[in-house]
């Protein structure tokens, strides 16, 4: 029997109280990690090998940032500006029906300035001055690719390894496989912010647990009064009253346990205790008033406004300090079908400084070495203009064949560029990285062999990385 469960069967709440909070934590942990009500594998033998990463912060840029306007720049783009997209480049690529009816596909060079940064002379757009400052700390993957061309299937795909709904998200897989490292907070936390651009729908299934036990689903933290749903006591109930209620409930429940010997009862007692602790730990986590001014200098003044991407980045760092396993920030508004020059600038302004600050801050605190930071979206955008191309305006449609993602920390090679696209940023010419390869690499850094990390469901060994054999991109590893 699982030692934690064994313990939870034997230890009554009184002894737990004597043992203090550690005992309670262990028990709550036990039931959050161990209990799978209907089947599922108990002994997962994880991690498979020594991990480099203990935790992950995934900065998900929902809507698909334009790779060639931010990173994947080719000086030749200036020459192809305005010409029709050659068939030799498009190669019969299927287009979304938003632009497939266009008569003309004029190529558009980025309407932004680019400069080379860092020891490897990496191109970075003027829109990302702060990210430009950390190029020597990150690995830039210019050869990301996927098959999905629309948001809903694509974002489902990169988050769950399948375009069909119903599969667990990466965070749920990690919560299930590796469990929690802290006793006061969930192991998978999601936060959402948005820019001013065109924003795509999100779905709670993106942080869902699919067929895994649902305690592994992401818990969405929000700004405002109740960072976690139903966290606050009802009006008129103060903490002392709540404490009194829980003590009373626990006494009666314990008697029930003595009568039935059902371990679920003890798990329930500890879950009520964990809920009680979260009522202080979560507001404490979310309260940025204790942060010094230097934090806001680093992340930007936006970070003082709850609900912004910058504020969420500061909270992500605070969660890393508290050992939350998987933090996922969804920032919305990257879907620039039109008005790209204006809207992309706004999106970058909202995110650039805080993203870079997070990496710098984690490094200063010694957390970057075992925290994996990932920045990226669900696919890329087309070199050709969607809608009319004018001197100052244009749009870009969805493009699955290439896009850019960056990673930092936790054994990822700093100051490295991986993969290459053609001058149209349309096709990959070197070292493609499929989204499942990326996910396999993330798992690898967490000490998990993606192929052996399975869950039996409907007669199959299900994997985060799907049925194809993906590849750990070892070139990205330091």
């Amino acid at each position: 029997m699982d030692p934690i469960q064994e313990r939870s069967r034997q230890v009554t709440r009184r002894t737990l109280l004597r043992n203090g909070a550690n005992g309670l934590g262990a028990m709550a942990l036990g039931s959050m990690l161990g209990k799978t009500a209907f089947g599922g594998v108990r002994d997962k033998g994880l991690p498979h090998f020594t991990p480099k990463a203990k935790r992950v912060i995934y900065l998900f840029m929902n809507g698909a940032p334009s790779q060639m306007d931010l990173f994947d720049y080719h000086p030749k783009m200036r020459e192809i500006h305005g010409i029709e997209l050659p068939d030799s480049i498009r190669q019969g690529q299927r287009l979304t029906t938003m632009s497939s009816g266009q008569k003309s596909f004029p190529c558009v060079a980025p309407m932004f300035k680019f400069k080379k940064y860092g020891q490897h002379q990496t191109w970075v757009s003027e829109l990302l001055p702060h990210t430009a400052g950390i190029v020597d700390k990150i690995s830039l993957i210019k050869s990301m690719n996927t098959e999905a061309i629309n948001h809903d299937p694509a974002i489902t795909y990169i988050n769950t390894g399948s375009q069909q709904q119903g599969k667990p998200s990466m965070g749920a897989w990690l919560s299930y496989g590796l469990g929690s490292m802290n006793r006061d907070l969930p192991s998978y936390v999601v936060m959402i912010s948005r820019g001013k651009g065109n924003f795509q729908a999100l779905y709670s299934r993106l942080w869902g647990s699919g067929f895994l036990p649902s305690e592994h689903q992401g818990v969405k933290f929000r700004s405002g009064k109740d960072p976690v749903l139903y966290l606050s006591n009802p009006d008129g109930i103060d903490p002392a009253t709540r404490r009194r209620m829980l003590d009373g409930i626990a006494k009666i429940n314990e008697a029930k346990y003595e009568e039935t010997h059902d371990a679920e009862i003890q798990a329930r007692i500890s879950q009520y205790e964990m809920a009680f602790r979260m009522q202080t730990s979560v507001p404490d986590l979310m309260d940025l008033s204790t942060e010094p001014d230097s934090t806001f200098e680093l992340y930007g003044e936006d970070a003082r406004t709850p609900g912004t991407y910058a504020a969420n980045c500061v909270i992500a760092r605070r969660m890393a300090e508290r050992d939350v396993r998987f933090v996922q920030l969804f920032h919305r508004g990257w879907d620039q079908h039109g008005n790209l020059p204006r809207d992309l600038r706004g999106q970058c302004k909202d995110t650039d400084q805080a993203s870079a600050a997070l990496v710098i801050d984690l490094e200063r605190r010694g957390l970057l070495e075992d925290t994996l930071v990932i920045w990226g979206g669900e696919f890329g955008r087309t070199i050709y203009s969607q809608g009319a191309l004018t001197e100052t305006n244009h749009g870009r449609d969805h493009h699955p064949r290439c896009f850019t993602t960056w990673m930092a920390g936790a054994g990822i090679r700093p100051g490295y560029e991986h993969g290459e696209t053609d001058d149209f940023s349309y096709n990959i010419v070197r070292d493609p990285v499929h989204i499942n390869d990326l996910n396999a690499t993330i798992l690898h850094q967490l000490g998990i062999d993606h192929d052996r990390f399975t869950y039996p469901y409907q007669g199959l060994d299900q994997r985060l990385t799907g049925v194809e054999k993906p590849r750990v991109v070892t070139e990205l590893l330091a």
Partner: protein, 973 residues
């Protein structure tokens, strides 16, 4: 020969009774280690060797030689000393010594294959001997397994717990204290059976069964993908409610839901039932490719059908032959072909129901429409029969003619219309220029690919142009003036309207309404000569209609032309136009009749607009060809491999005479000889009542699924189910009547440790109630439940901003309902699938974007936060408190009532002590802080009884909340 093998052979038993059972012992090993390369999937098969078919056994092949492991190449290879020759390859998997031993013994005992257990026909098994404990056949099977393990069943549970258990299991509701008392004191031998019968006859039973079916049918009130817009499938859900209430046989239940539309002359009810597969998630994403989406919907239908009825997951075979079960890729696409005939589109609306759909007027609406038609017809009859007094027309004609010659009135041209021009949303249809807005209108030319069509509409009445939702229709006409002038116009529209005069927008109203006279007024600045009027009517749903009339003295062109002509020598036709005009607009009785008709038409349009619809299945007239899709890709059909619709013939051929359509598929599923459907269905009922199926993998009865814990019992139940005419209530009754069901759930430690998962059923299970049942229980015990059956989903309390956080460009906001709707049963909660109601989702209600036949049952801190803090539960607690205070006088009686309501027994001495202590401490707190008491009593929208002392009421609210949060209250024991 390796030394391992030699050792093994030594340990093998000599000739004797067969000890190895293929299905139980061998098949799982082969499936795990061998079938990927040597199984049904020809795509990955190596060395052309198949180990999944018995034809491989025999001396000639030398692979599996019965009785002779040493001469069997199979055994040689799995025990080979050389790693290079050993199977399976070490990098793929490794056989344990135990597994090798089993395989060797199997060959030694004859290498007999058996068909996988669930693919075998269901035979009525022999009944094991009875015993004193057994109450019915079920118990004899359970007892046989227990006896084999030397375990005693548990005694029957006390009656109070039994009625609470049964009430939740069958009805999802707690028993009332009166029901508990009556049952506990009823000593008649039939008391329990009476209770079972009574519960099975309630509406709550139908609601409870429907809830489970909603998970399987992935029911939702929204479309899932992209915008996740609203849809109305609740009439389908209400059909399910009625079916369960009437105990519709499961075979009919199946046929009507899978193919109600294909039955001969289907009734409306049967069409509604066919909506089962319209619960599929659909998309409205702008850039999506129609065929890709359409294929996705068909894939979902194959998956759902196979999960729910067949108990096989066919998904793998979408891309390649199944590696374990006998489902080839061709089988998959033959199954797929049944569904691939649907007329629906891939790209669907984000704004309500998508075609094919049917209208569902209520009885009231039908009566209203009939009455309105009557009055419209009576007007027609009036004009046929009545006539103005002789000479009145002639008098008017000559006067008007004279007057007209002295005036200078704009001459209105004939109306022309073009459209509809459809878009994804009404807003898009309204904002888009579909052709004529920026150009000079030419009714002889095409506009947006369509022709302008002449209309004979008379001004001053509501005219209906069509009924395409989210579409624009243009109207245009000329207006001729001898001199420049202003003219007022009176307008009506369904819905939005925009008007251009000579290319300039002069009026617009983006609105939603049924058209009627004089809804808007506008003014036209008409220059000398000819002007062009362009009008755009944009409809969001229901009819597209408009009303137009120029100021009173402006007459329609035909009338004007006829009036201008000299009265003498006027053609019959022109005279007819004038006479008609006179009768309708001048003659007082005629005017009255016209206004009656106009009012009736407007009301009719309103009623028609309010009629609900439901999505149904409909097949294309000419069947659509289905091809095997390479790796399941919609755009990679193997055009050389067309497939006809077909069932999994390995399980059972299509019954004779069954058509090759969904109807045939449904008939195949409920054929009495089908090996899976009845087993899968009774197993689902068993899992509902015991928390665990006899086959624990309720969705997977294939070779990779779990084997049944009580195979004979499963077959007995399945056989009886079919024999009884697929009688659902009978199947459930049988199970709950058993001694097995009625056992105590308490067990000593040794018993729990011997069988922690309770596979052998030596006790009753104990598990947490569904979130729906917990909320309904809170509403019921607090006396606030509004127990009404069916109807649209209700939007109950939920934290703010949840829809907003996920919605597409902020386009859908949650608007909470009020009043009664806040207190309806939880199964009616509006189910938005991109952001499901969070309290229910926290308690494992599935998202319902995919089929789920058994819910998870987790235990998390988030759940504690819901039942302690969610306003719905706090409000229920204060009403429960109010009920206790008003019903009983003293502390103990009040507390006992609270416990009776929530746990079916009075408070235990310990509970009383704990609660009294809490009461005293808490009362002091609230007496000192009245504001806190009032704040607590202000939770929720319902009023409190202000005659109660606030501190006492608040204190009891705290106690009530504690009772609602007790493990026992949250659990079915």
């Amino acid at each position: 020969m390796s030394t391992t093998l030699a050792l093994l052979l030594l340990t093998c038993s000599p000739d004797g009774p067969i000890t190895i059972e293929f299905g139980r012992d061998v098949q799982p090993i082969l499936a795990k280690h061998c079938f990927v390369c040597h199984g049904p999937d020809q795509g990955t098969r190596k060395a052309r060797l198949r180990l999944d078919l018995p034809s491989i056994v025999g001396e000639e092949q030398g692979i599996l030689v019965p009785g002779q492991p040493l001469s069997s190449e199979f055994i040689n290879r799995i025990t080979h000393a050389s790693a290079d020759d050993r199977m399976p390859p070490a990098e793929e998997s490794v056989l344990t010594p135990e597994e090798i031993k089993t395989l060797t013994l199997w060959v030694k005992e004859g290498a007999q294959y058996q068909r996988h257990w669930s693919f075998e026909a269901i035979e009525a098994p022999t009944l094991p001997p009875s015993g004193a404990w057994a109450r019915n056949e079920i118990d004899r099977f359970v007892l046989a397994e227990l006896a084999a393990e030397n375990i005693e069943p548990s005694p029957e549970v006390n009656r109070a717990t039994l009625i609470r258990r049964l009430s939740f299991d069958l009805c999802g509701m707690p028993p009332t204290p009166d029901e508990v008392t009556a049952f506990v004191s009823d000593e008649s031998p039939g008391a329990y059976e009476d209770l079972v019968d009574r519960l099975l006859a309630t509406d709550a039973y139908a609601e409870r069964m429907t809830l489970a079916w909603m998970d399987a049918a992935r029911y939702g009130d929204t479309s899932v993908h992209h915008a996740d817009g609203p849809r109305d499938m609740w009439p389908w859900r209400d059909w399910v409610l009625r079916a369960y209430r009437e105990n519709m046989p499961f075979n009919q239940f199946t046929v009507e839901q899978l193919a109600g539309d294909l039955l001969p002359e289907p009734t409306t009810e049967q069409l509604v039932a066919s909506g089962f597969h319209r619960n599929s998630p659909t998309s409205d994403e702008g850039g999506a490719i129609d065929e890709e989406l359409r294929v996705k919907y068909m894939v979902d239908r194959v998956k759902t059908t196979s999960n729910v009825w067949v108990g096989l997951s066919m998904e793998c075979a979408q891309c390649h032959d199944h590696k374990y079960d006998p489902v080839t890729q061709k089988d998959y696409y033959r199954f797929f072909a049944f569904f691939n005939q649907s007329t629906e589109m891939g790209y669907q609306t984000r704004n309500g129901n998508a075609i094919p759909l049917i209208s569902l007027p209520t009885e009231g609406q039908k009566a209203d429409l009939a009455a309105l038609d009557d009055s419209i017809q009576s007007v027609a009859a009036f004009f046929k029969a009545a006539a103005p007094s002789p000479g009145a027309f002639e008098e008017w004609h000559s006067a008007e003619h004279k007057q007209l010659l002295e005036r200078d009135t704009p001459v209105l041209g004939t109306w022309y219309s073009a459209g509809p021009f459809k878009k994804g949303t009404k807003a898009e249809a309204y904002s888009a220029d579909h052709g004529p807005e920026a150009i000079e209108v030419d009714v002889a030319a095409k506009v947006g690919g369509l022709d302008w069509k002449e209309r004979s509409d008379q001004d001053g009445a509501v005219h209906t142009l069509g009924s395409t939702p989210n579409a624009a229709i243009y109207l245009t006409r000329t207006i001729h003036c001898e001199r420049a002038q202003s003219a007022s116009i009176s307008l009506g529209s369904d819905d939005s309207i925009r008007i251009w005069l000579n290319g300039k927008i002069i009026f617009e109203n983006d609105t939603g309404r049924a058209a009627a006279a004089n809804q808007d007024q506008a003014s036209l600045e008409l220059p000398t000569g000819e002007s062009q009027l362009l009008m755009k009517i944009v409809n969001g749903g229901g009819p597209t209609s408009y009303y137009f009339k120029m100021g009173a003295e402006n007459l329609p062109e035909p009338v004007l032309a006829a009036l201008k002509a000299e009265p003498e020598g006027l053609s019959e036709k022109a005279r007819g136009v004038l006479h008609d005009h006179f009768i309708r607009t001048v003659w007082p009785e005629g005017i009255e009749q016209v206004s009656i008709k106009e009012a009736a038409l407007a009301r009719k349009a309103g009623v028609e607009k309010s009629i609900g619809t439901v999505m149904v299945m409909k097949d294309v007239a000419k069947s659509r060809m289905t091809y095997i899709l390479d790796r399941g890709q919609y755009d990679a059909p193997h055009k050389d491999q067309p497939v006809e619709p077909g069932v999994l013939e390995d399980l059972l051929p299509l019954p004779a005479g069954a058509p090759p359509t969904r109807l045939g598929l449904a008939q195949w599923l409920v054929d009495p000889d089908h090996p899976m459907t009845a087993r899968v269905t009774v197993n689902r009922y068993w899992a509902m009542l015991f928390g665990r199926g006899l086959v624990s993998t309720v969705m997977d009865f294939g070779t990779q699924g779990a084997r049944p814990s009580h195979p004979a019992l499963l077959d007995w139940l399945a056989h009886d189910f079919v024999e009884s005419g697929w009688n659902v209530k009978r199947a459930l009754k049988q199970i709950v009547m058993s001694a097995t069901y009625r056992q105590d759930s308490r067990a000593d430690k040794s018993r729990r440790e011997a069988d922690p998962e309770n596979v052998l059923l030596a006790r009753a299970p104990r598990f947490r109630l569904h979130g729906e049942f917990l909320r309904d229980q809170a509403l019921a015990v607090s006396g606030t439940l509004v127990d009404k059956m069916g109807g649209p989903g209700v939007k109950v309390y939920q934290p703010e901003g949840l829809w907003n956080a996920v919605s597409l460009n902020r386009n859908l906001r949650f608007t909470q309902d009020h009043g009664e709707k806040l207190y309806r049963k939880s199964m009616y909660i509006y189910w938005k699938r991109s952001a499901p109601q969070p309290a229910m989702a926290t308690f494992d209600t599935p998202i319902r974007d995919t089929c789920v036949v058994q819910r998870q049952c987790t235990n998390t801190p988030m759940q504690a936060l819901v039942t302690l803090n969610d306003v719905q539960f706090v409000e229920a607690a204060r009403h429960l408190a109010q009920r206790l205070i008003l019903s009983k006088k003293d502390f103990n009686a009040r507390l006992d009532l609270g416990f009776m309501l929530c746990t079916a027994h009075p408070a235990t001495p310990l509970a009383r002590e704990v609660m009294l202590e809490t009461f005293k401490a808490q009362l002091a707190v609230f007496q000192a802080d009245k504001d806190a008491a009032l704040a607590l009593l202000g939770m929720g929208e319902s009023a409190r009884d202000e005659s109660l002392d606030a501190a006492e009421h608040a204190t009891w609210t705290v106690l009530a909340s504690m009772i609602l949060n007790l493990d026992e209250t949250l659990t079915r024991e």
